[in-house]
Symmetry: C2
Subunit: 597 residues, 2 copies
């Protein structure tokens, strides 16, 4: 059975040594979010994840969810674990105190999400969806809806969903058929079928609040005619208890490759009563509020799964005796050496380590910028942070989840045949990780979002939020002999990213297919450069710490430097490949006629 230990030491390093998360206390509302408080919160979160949620992960995978006549039962133990989650006040961690939340920084929720996912991804999705729905209601709904629904969602007593996809359309939401007809009382009657609704029905909460995309009778066609509606499973009574059952039913649950303990539902809306969230026909905007947060959360799934898969592979490769080191027996008194003596095994471990630690740094940084975007009193700083987050969102979503799957596969590989056996738990990580590349906008869509929307936005202003500070940091690093070995390769990779950006913009203007054909390679380059940047910054911090004597953690800081070296020498060169592929243009991709495939 796999195990999990929250990587609190590395989290502390990233939050405090690298990102100075303490600075958030200077923002209004975050005064209490001191290093000490955050650290004790995370220690508690670690206990919940390690002791309550992780032990349910494999049993949940084996048992799955149960469906009968519209009722969904989660696997054994999930109800109790969810109650512990609610009782601990975890759902409201970074939610608005006005509705009962603790108002802590989003950055802390990012960390919490990583821990929950590592421990039990299928479980983590339930509160994750509530968070997304909460955000949309909080930002776009009127006060009456907010007052009714947010308090119960803040505690986690009620949960939330996002109902977007229909059988004939997922990516292309302009095609949806679900209808909303106005009632006399200001509510709407919603009718239609939604599929792939995670947590659409379950037994964890007393009510489920669906956010549903639908079309009003007078809706313009396409995405400009979509509105967002709040549809509760039970209509709230006057004292805000779950009252009359609404016309929404779960028709079935899907049999999936993974995340077996999370119910993926077909939801039938049959004259269900709902209320408009935001303005008519402006549903896509409201949806993107949910979606952007959700995309970052999904990115963290890549990190979370890679982390737990790494931990288990590390244990296994240290314990499993098999073969001898190529350079002579390392443990001659034993029948064989442990797997970790083998260079190829070590290369795999180093790859996952370099990814996860780099991704943690980047992911939390985006989390902090999200707080800046929401709380900084300086409007310019706020806008800049918002732009940074918007730019990085598709990168975090797609690059992290592609790598999460690659890393889980790599960790599974280290187990040999045992990795393929369910009992050992490694195959679950691969199967769970797989969905993150698909949902909340498949990774190809993320790449299109990056090149098609984010690059060109406001004449490249978003891009400057990333390019300018990186250029500045590289300039000084190139003059520091301790940093040159890291800054040099990164500068070259960054040069290729800039060149690719110019080419994509230029060619894409003439022929949009050029941007499309370049998109996934471009996003990958972006992700590699972003992680390279994080590694440069981590080396700077580690050097400084070591210069101060290392504070008893010299090994930890030296590991950072060696892992950074591995990253720039072994992983960053992928930029060369992707750059060359991208530069070859759209012709190689589009030239073959569809009927000759």
């Amino acid at each position: 059975m796999p195990t999990y230990k929250a990587p609190l030491e590395d989290i502390d390093f990233v939050l405090n040594d690298l990102l100075q998360a303490d600075n958030l206390t200077k923002l209004p509302g975050f005064e209490d979010a001191t290093r000490d408080l955050v650290s004790s919160i995370l220690e508690e979160a670690a206990k919940l994840c390690e002791n309550e949620l992780q032990p349910l992960n494999r049993p949940g995978h084996e048992e799955g969810c149960h469906y009968e006549n519209g009722v969904v039962r989660t696997p054994k133990g999930f109800k109790e674990a969810y109650q512990a989650y609610v009782d601990g006040g975890w759902q409201g961690l970074s939610m608005d105190p006005k509705y009962g939340g603790q108002g802590l920084p989003h950055a802390i929720t990012f960390v919490l999400e990583e821990l929950l996912i590592s421990a039990n991804m299928a479980f983590a999705m339930y509160p994750g969806l509530t968070q997304g729905a909460w955000n949309a209601i909080h930002t776009h709904a009127n006060d009456q809806l907010k007052d009714t629904y947010l308090p119960k969602m803040t505690t986690g007593e009620w949960s939330g969903t996002m109902c977007l996809t229909e059988p004939h359309c997922g990516t292309d939401l302009g095609l949806i058929k679900t209808k909303a007809v106005p009632n006399d009382d200001g509510s709407y009657s919603i009718t239609g079928t939604k599929i792939f609704i995670s947590a659409g029905e379950h037994d964890l909460t007393s009510n489920i609040i669906h956010l549903v995309l639908a079309k009003l009778p007078d809706a313009p066609s396409g995405v400009k005619g979509i509105s967002l509606f709040l549809v509760p499973k039970f209509l709230p009574t006057e004292d805000n208890q779950p009252g009359q059952r609404n016309g929404v039913m779960c028709g079935s649950i899907e049999h999936k490759m993974g995340i077996m303990a999370n119910a993926t539902c077909v939801m039938n809306f049959d004259d269900a009563k709902g209320w408009l969230v935001g303005e008519p026909h402006k549903g896509m905007r409201a949806m993107f509020t949910m979606m952007n947060a959700a995309r970052l959360g999904v990115g963290m799934q890549g990190l979370g799964i890679a982390t737990v898969a790494y931990q288990n592979a590390l244990t296994y490769t240290k314990e499993r005796l098999q073969g001898r080191s190529l350079t002579g027996a390392k443990e001659p008194e034993k029948a064989a050496d442990p797997l970790i003596v083998h260079p190829d095994v070590r290369k795999n471990l180093m790859t996952i380590k370099a990814f996860t630690e780099g991704a943690r740094a980047l992911g939390y940084w985006v989390g902090i910028q999200l707080d800046q975007a929401d709380h900084n009193p300086d409007l310019k700083a706020r806008a800049e942070a918002d732009e940074f987050v918007a730019l990085l969102t598709p990168v975090v979503k797609a690059y992290f989840t592609d790598m999460g799957y690659e890393c889980a596969t790599m960790a599974q590989q280290m187990y040999g045949g045992h990795g393929y056996i369910r009992e050992w738990g490694m195959e679950q990580f691969v199967r769970d990780a797989r969905i993150a590349m698909i949902y909340e906008g498949a990774n190809g869509i993320q790449a299109l979002d990056l090149v098609g929307r984010k690059l060109g936005q406001d004449m490249g202003r978003l891009l400057r939020r990333f390019f300018h500070p990186l250029a500045g940091e590289l300039e000084s690093a190139m003059e520091d002999t301790d940093l040159l070995e890291f800054a040099g390769p990164l500068a070259k990779a960054f040069g290729k990213l800039q060149q690719a950006t110019a080419i994509v913009a230029q060619r894409g203007m003439k022929n949009p297919d050029e941007a499309g054909a370049a998109s996934t390679d471009y996003l990958r380059i972006f992700g590699l450069v972003a992680l390279g940047w994080m590694w440069l910054r981590m080396v700077k911090v580690a050097n400084a710490k070591l210069a101060e004597g290392g504070n008893g953690k010299s090994g930890f800081y030296e590991a950072k430097i060696k892992t950074a070296r591995f990253f720039v020498q072994r992983l960053l060169p992928e930029v060369d490949f992707r750059f060359k592929a991208l530069m070859s243009g759209a012709k190689t991709v589009m030239d073959l006629e569809a009927d000759l495939f």
Copy 2:
């Protein structure tokens, strides 16, 4: 539900236009293997695979195998399908006529294997294992054993297994504990436990012939003390019927990630009666006879799964309407354009197409060389072919299966959310493909075999079987203006492969960890260059055919040229990345102390 259509047109192109498989008829024993005969055999094989085996693939995945008290039941329909396989005489296709086989070239069996795997990989493993066991008996056993067992295995009436792995060792077989004690009658009593035994127990055949690695009482320690034994489930009676039950029982079957319809068994040998195959303590040699054939067969699994996954993704992307082409609506009369108009979707399709068609060419070529190695009357030609096969075996095994998994994942991705749902069948391809990277020597072991054993063997003689003809072909292609665009990038990639070879050899002499740290990147470069070579050759053939007017298949030949262009421009550049990573040496990989991971 997925569908499958055997790619007979491409197979014909590869076998006949590219590889002139007809030449095999010049070898003694293969006189009858004419193009016409082969083509009609393959048409029959296609029918079996498309109509009988493929429809059982998804049901078999869902139902899995059943275990009760030592008895294993395969999923519904497997028994009947296996009987059809036996009745069709498919098992003996390339087996020795002396034992009832049809004595056709191995190359034809390679094609048959590809078709079987595409249709139903879990099913294909049953006859595949019989083939491997048959090879080992045929090459190493005495006449009495051969006469007793081979005829029934040739018909498929009896099946075979390979019993190698034990709970504490898989890769490192020197550690095995299974014992063989000589009996007075020349037989041996075998006692021990073997795990991960594919097809170890099932209901398809009336007897199962286990080939078991075990140690004699006087065995030297390590791999030099391993012997191979034949242990039948039922001891044959005098008239060669399954008689008394032998002391071998299936203790349980594994719950796995995939290949659900193939029973993976724990086999308990308890004073089971067995006979020595080959010489005492020389079991590893006999085992490698099985293993090498099995490795090539596993390589074909990568190709087979990628092919069927591609076919289904192609259908889906042509039918599913979602979004509009970036360059304006392509089917304005419909609600949306089909997915295939999108450059990124097309890039994924082209990637799989370029891999599968290149791999088919390389795989079948190796199959033909295997026939040359076995049948060519010229001993020098025979040895050269054997060396070529030995060199390419780890490349085919590891590169094909890594790519098979990547391609299956890519094909699944094109389905969006539906790809994650079991009903659509794409997740099965990913799960089935996954095992091929692990069994018959995990891919890391293949890479070590390539750099540690094959590169240096006989002063690089094996390598010259590949390098010399490629160098020759490139030299002339570089002077052909029609070929330059393909030969140029390939020559550069080949240059890097040669440079990497020299570096690995040089550095590896001083420090074997250098070879280990380079191995997987080196193998990947080798695979890419090998496929690049195939594409160059296919372009030459396509050009020639088009110059002759295309014979009504101009589109097919033009597609070859465009796919080759995609390969050299979009996929071959991965060589740059792998080369750079490899060149960084072992230090980045080995530098971090194990306790700092």
